[in-house]
Symmetry: C2
DNA sequence: TTCATACTTCGATGGTAACCGAAGCATTTG
DNA sequence: CAAATGCTTCGGTTACCATCGAAGTATGAA
C-alpha cells in the first residue's frame, strides 16, 4: 500500500517563514509562550496561534499549560535534531536569515541546540570524550563507557538517573557550523545544565548563543582541551 | 548580520507534494527526464518544468543536457542525505505516501539511497565492516582502514581511484527503515555498482527497490553475515 | 526543409493559506 | 464579583502559487 515516507508534509510545515522562525526560536531549548513566539516571528498573536496549532498537529511542537500561560516547545529531541540537520544544509548553501545583530561568531563558538551544547565548544567536548575512551560511537548512536560514567559522575551528574529515562543517554547530533557531531541525548542536556548551574556559562537572551564566563571557559578548556 | 541559517526556503521547496514526489523519484539515483518526473508526480509537463526550475534555483537538483533530452538528478550526495534524513523522520511519525503496489517490504530489505545501498542489507553491510575493523566511525564521518582497503580491493574495486575524488570515500547515512546508519560516500556508490555489475542484484523499474538474485543474496550474505 | 520530439515560457484561472480585526473563552488578580 | 491577561476561534480579505492550455524554442530525424 505504501511506498516510502512522505516528506512533503514536514516540508510544508517548515516551509512557511513564520513557522520556520518560531521553530528556530524554539531551538533555543526554552519553552516559549504564544505571545513570545509571535514576536519572534513578527506576526500577530492570532496568526501565531493558527501556526502553532498546525505545528502541534504535525507533531513538531508540544504545549504545556501552566496557569494562564501556554508554553510551547519542540515535541522531542528528534525534532531538534532534524532542524539542526536542515540548518546545516541551509548553512552550507549560504541560506541565512538576515537579522540585525553581530551574533554569528558567538553562535559558532557556543550555542544551545534544543537542549544541549553545540558549536565549537560542543564539538570539542565530544571529540575529547571519544578520544579519551569515555564515549563510543556507532553511527548516530553512542554509548557511555565505564570510564566515561566515572568522569561524568565526578562532575556531579547523576548518571543512573539519566539511564532511567526512555530516551537515549548518548546521541550524536550534526553541528551546522562545524560540520561535525556534538553530544546530544539526556547526557548532553545534563552537561549543559551543569555548566549553567555552576555559573560557567549563561544563555544569551533572545538568542541561541551561550556565553562562557572567563572563569568558566578556563575550566571548560581544562576539562576538554 | 546573520543569525542562523534559514530553513524555510528548503522547507518550502520540499513542502509541495509534486516537488516532493519528484525528489523521491530522484532518490532512485538515476537521472530522469522532465517527462518522466512529470509522470512520477502526476502533473503535466509544463507544471513539472516550472517545479524543476525552482528546484534547480534552490540547488536541490542539477540538470545535464544530452541531445534533446534534459536529465535531472539530485545536485549532490548531501541532498540525498538530507532527504533520507527527513524521510526517516517522516517514517517515524507514520507519514507515508499511499501509492498502489505492495513494495514496502522489498524497500525495507534493500533499496537504493541516491547512489548507495540502503535498507536491511545496507545496514548489515556497514555493521559487518565496522565489526571487522575495516571501517572506523567518527560521528557522521567514517574512514577505511588498511584491512578495509584490502578487503574492498579484493572485490575488484579500485580504491585509489575513489580517493582521488573530492567527496569523501566513506560516509554514514541514516537509514529511515532501520533507524541505523548505512554506508554512503564514493565507496558506498562503488559497492552498489559492483553488486549490480556482477549480477548479484538489479534495480527494480520505477522504484527504489533493489532485488537480489538468489545467488547474489547468498554471496552477499556470505560476505556480510 | 519539413516534421517530430522534448522542453520552456507565457498567460489566465482557481484554490488555498497566510494574515489580521473582532469576538469569545479561560484563568488569574483585585 | 469585575477587570485584566493570555490565548483561541471566526470571518473576510488578500496575495501567492500550483496548475494547465497555448504558443514558443531547441534539437534531432526524415
Amino acid at each position: 500500500m505504501k511506498e516510502g515516507p512522505d516528506i512533503s508534509q514536514i516540508g510544508a510545515l517548515i516551509g512557511d517563514p513564520a513557522r520556520a522562525n518560531m521553530l528556530t526560536a524554539l531551538m533555543g531549548g526554552q519553552a516559549l509562550t504564544a505571545t513570545e513566539l509571535a514576536g519572534a516571528a513578527g506576526i500577530t498573536l492570532q496568526t501565531a496561534s493558527s501556526h502553532l496549532s498546525k505545528l502541534e498537529t504535525g507533531g513538531l511542537v508540544a504545549q504545556r499549560k501552566q496557569g494562564r500561560h501556554r508554553y510551547f516547545a519542540l515535541a522531542d529531541d528528534e525534532v531538534g535534531q532534524l532542524l539542526e540537520n536542515i540548518m546545516g544544509f541551509a548553512a552550507n548553501r549560504g541560506l541565512m536569515r538576515t537579522r540585525p545583530g553581530p551574533k554569528d561568531p558567538a553562535l559558532r563558538k557556543a550555542r544551545v541546540c534544543y537542549n544541549h551544547l553545540a558549536g565549537d565548544f560542543g564539538v570539542r567536548m565530544l571529540d575529547r570524550l571519544v578520544a579519551d575512551g569515555d564515549v563510543t560511537l556507532d553511527g548516530d548512536e553512542a554509548g557511555l563507557t565505564q570510564n566515561g560514567e566515572a568522569r561524568i559522575a565526578a562532575l556531579g551528574i547523576d548518571v543512573p538517573a539519566l539511564k532511567t529515562q526512555r530516551r537515549p543517554v548518548c546521541r550524536t547530533c550534526l553541528d551546522w557550523s562545524e560540520r561535525r557531531s556534538h553530544l546530544a541525548g539526556s547526557l548532553g542536556e545534563a552537561l549543559l545544565a551543569r555548566f549553567i548551574a555552576d555559573g560557567w556559562a549563561r544563555r544569551e537572551k533572545d538568542s541561541r548563543a551561550i556565553r562562557f564566563t572567563p572563569e568558566g571557559e578556563k575550566r571548560f578548556t581544562a576539562l576538554f582541551p
